[in-house]
Structure formats: C-alpha cells, structure tokens
Symmetry: C3
Subunit: 131 residues, 3 copies
C-alpha cells in the first residue's frame, strides 16, 4: 500500500489526502499518459456528466495498469485537469472508491480546455510496482 507522510503543521480539509507519498525505493516505474473518458472503441463516455467521466477515467487507469501488472494501489502520484473545478465533489466520490484510505499525492487544477471539447476531466499518474 501507499506510504504517506503528513505533517501536523499543514492541514488540508480532505479526508484521506496525503501530503507526501514515498515511492517504493526499488521497483518498476510506470508513467501514465493523460487518460480521458474514452472506451475501448474510442467513444467518449458521459459528456456533461463529471461523475460518469471521472468513473470512466479511473476504470481506464485500472485496466491499463492491469496490462502493466499493476493496480490502483501502486499509484504514487496523480494530476487531475478539469474544466469545472466546482464539480470536484463528484470526483471525490469516485476517488473514495478508488484510492482507499491513503490517497496518492494529488494535484487538481481547472484548465481552459482539454483536447476533446466534451472531455471534462483528464488524469495522469505515476505508479511504482515494488520489486
């Protein structure tokens, strides 16, 4: 599982939020491209529905990690780009199912646009599978 380090001198009002994740010192490092809500046929899921898109992004992350012999538990760091950060609570719900008690190191920003105009959320990640 993820190894989190938190300081009492800094507080983020999000349950499970990790200030620092220490990656396993020896292992396979996987760099994941920005993942969208597309399916195996390239079709966009859930236009206008942040929860549906976030859910599909996480599902995609899971299946491509699986292809690399890894799981969501190996994710040490994520970056999340959204087109409407007010919809964060919908992503939060999806993440609580995905990450368990200890979240990866996480940054989220609202950007001006993602490539496909229907895309509302894109996530990239780094995962490390310990040896």
């Amino acid at each position: 599982m993820r190894s989190a380090i938190n300081s009492p001198s800094y507080h983020v009002p999000i349950d499970g939020f990790s200030q620092i994740i220490e990656a396993p010192s020896v292992g396979r490092t996987l760099h994941l491209s920005g993942l969208t809500a597309r399916t195996s046929t390239g079709e966009m899921v859930g236009p206008g529905d942040m929860r549906a898109q976030a859910s599909q992004v996480l599902e995609n992350m899971e299946v491509i990690l699986e292809a690399a012999g890894a799981t969501l538990d190996h994710v040490v760091s994520i970056r999340t780009y959204v087109t409407d950060i007010e919809a964060y609570p919908e992503i939060d719900e999806v993440w609580r199912e995905a990450w368990g008690a200890v979240w990866p190191a996480s940054t989220m920003v609202e950007v001006a646009r993602l490539w496909d105009e229907r895309q509302m959320v894109e996530m990239e990640a780094v995962a490390v599978v310990p040896e």
Copy 2:
C-alpha cells in the same frame, strides 16, 4: 527505446500514442524544466506560429538532453501546455518527427496563459538514461 504498455480496453485515436511508458529500472533520471521557444540568446522564435514554436521547443529539448548525455529517445514522459489546443495538429507533425514509433507518456492541456505572452506552447519532460 521506450517501452510502451497498452491495453486493448482503452483507445486513443492517435497513432503512436502510449498509454504507459515503463522507465528503465536503473539509470539516470533527468527532470527537464518547462521549455519555451527561446534561442541561445533568449530570443522568442515564431510568435503566432505554433508549428515553429513547437519545433523550437523540441530542438531545445534535444540540445539540453545532449548536454546531459541523453537523447529524445530517453524521454519517458512529457507534459505540454498550450494556449490554443485547436492548434494541436501542428504540434502532432513536429512530434511525429521527434518521437518515432513509440511516444513518451503524454498529457496536453490548454492553459490560461504562459509567462511570455507570445509563448504558445511549453513542454516539460522526464528522461531516464539506462545504465
């Protein structure tokens, strides 16, 4: 060369796109700052011309990697910030020349602005040179 892992359960309609790049497990890890279209004298190349700027950014990436004993083939991950994502096809052309058959893990977003207002594209990267 880059070692890509792709799942048939997720599809991105871009030829050469890598879902996951696995970094060499032992090697020198190089973190590249966000690179702009400046020259050796700090002059901005190609204002208003995305293709020219993307090309200069890649040229800069190549020369600074060379200074570190690395090449574009060692790049495992890139992040690309643009001020107009509609111009992506012009960047795509430059990338096809730069990356070869297997692309680094890649994320691109449209941001509100880059530091120099004439700057239309900025790229950062991580490269790993195997031992």
Copy 3:
C-alpha cells in the same frame, strides 16, 4: 545539493534557472501533493497577496519535507500553478530565498482556477533524498 545541467544553446533570462536537474540515482523519492497557502488549522493565508501565499506554500513545503526527513535542497522538480502569472516577480522573490543558487527543474503556468477561489498559487514537487 541539486545537480543542474545547462546547455549554452538555450537561454532563459532568469538567474538560477536550471534546464535539467539530475536526481540522485539512489535514494528515497517523495511525491508532494499540490500545496496551498493553508496553515496547520486549514486557514487560508494572504488572500489577494501573491507574495504572502507563495511564502506560505514554501513554508508548508519545508515543514512537510521535514516530516519526511528531507529539506528544500532535496527538491528536484516543481510545478507551479497560478491564477495570475503577471504576479510572478513576487514568487521569484520567495524562490530566491528558498532555492539558493541552483533551482529545481521548474514549470509555471496560469490556470483558469484553483479549488479555493482565494488560492492564487499552488505548488507540487518531487524530492529525492540520496542514500
């Protein structure tokens, strides 16, 4: 200290700017979440004051790194998201105190919004503590 590599064929008009930082090849890799200007009680510092917020973000980075047995000198890479990139000179002042002579690999972009509307700057980082 940080090990920087710079090429004479690319020039950035910022003193101390590093084109490439080579991470220690063996060590503990720490992934830091996006840090805001909150305090230990979750209160936001310096709304409307970029210098105060940047300063608090760096202070937070320092204290959470300390909790992990690391210091600002171990930071190899940062990403800085701002809501007004024109205010960069105020961040520059804070960085000159924080980084010393050699900066981490660095990228800064202006985004559309950060989660808390009062937040003007958010920074994430990767640090490597050599063994």
